[in-house]
């Protein structure tokens, strides 16, 4: 199993770091070649047909695909553009209010550290002041909510 580490700098940011026992070039290709990306993209129980994948891997190029839920056929489209493409170390995509960046670090021993960072959902001034730990506030409140009967 790859090492797993999850860090949430704030509620609207998500950061996930993984270390893969694979050379950086292979990890890069898994992200930038449609036939490879289609193999792993999406949650378990979802498929991404290769025919749906458009990847014009350069700044401003289109990054689009359609995932299908195996169980009920629910469709989940993605259609965005690449922002930065620095082979083989950095890839980012999205619009101004929702950007995801993934970086690849060669650990020098055949392994690759992959760091995914996404700023999620909304641009809102109030959020700039949101304290770290909002997510755990969610959790605590969620637990409290779960333990009571709501009207």
């Amino acid at each position: 199993m790859p090492d797993l580490e999850i860090d949430e700098p704030g509620a609207r940011e998500i950061e996930i770091t993984r270390i893969y026992d694979a050379p950086r070039e292979l990890v890069w290709r898994a992200w930038t070649e449609p036939a490879r990306l289609a193999c792993w993209w999406g949650k378990r129980g979802w498929s991404t047909p290769l025919a749906s994948v458009t990847m014009d891997v350069r700044p401003g190029g289109r990054f689009a695909l359609m995932s299908v839920c195996d169980a009920d056929g629910t469709l989940m489209p993605m259609d965005t553009v690449y922002r930065e493409v620095v082979e083989p170390s950095l890839l980012s995509w999205g619009a101004d209010d929702r950007v995801a960046t993934v970086t690849f670090l060669d650990l020098g021993d055949g392994r690759t550290e992959m760091r995914f960072h996404a700023v999620v959902v909304v641009s809102d001034e109030a959020f700039a002041n949101a304290p770290v730990g909002l997510a755990s506030a969610f959790d605590r409140l969620g637990e409290q909510l779960a333990s009571m009967d709501l009207p």
């Binding site: 694979a22 993209w41 605590r140």
Partner: protein, 112 residues
Amino acid sequence: MAVDELSVTFAALADPTRRAILARLAGGEATVNELAAPFAMSLQAVSKHLKVLERAGLIVRGRSAQLRPSRLHGAALGEAAGWLEEYREFWDESFDRLGEHLRELDEPPRNA
């Protein structure tokens, strides 16, 4: 839940006083007076916070003109937290699958 609604919800949750108010309401409904008690804050200021929470759909307030007790409305909070959770799960599971994909490429083992 639309992104704009989530934006309002998150903005409402960004304030520590409002989160404290929500935590208090998780224990049961309360009037403005009761809510103001633990905070060094005017009733007016607390009312303002309640208005923000109400607009975000995080609480509902009674109609009784005088007391207007507030109580937690769980749906908005749940949806906001659920959206983030869903988003993280998407990537977590994708990255698990990426690891499996990379291992498959590795077969037969190079060194064994």
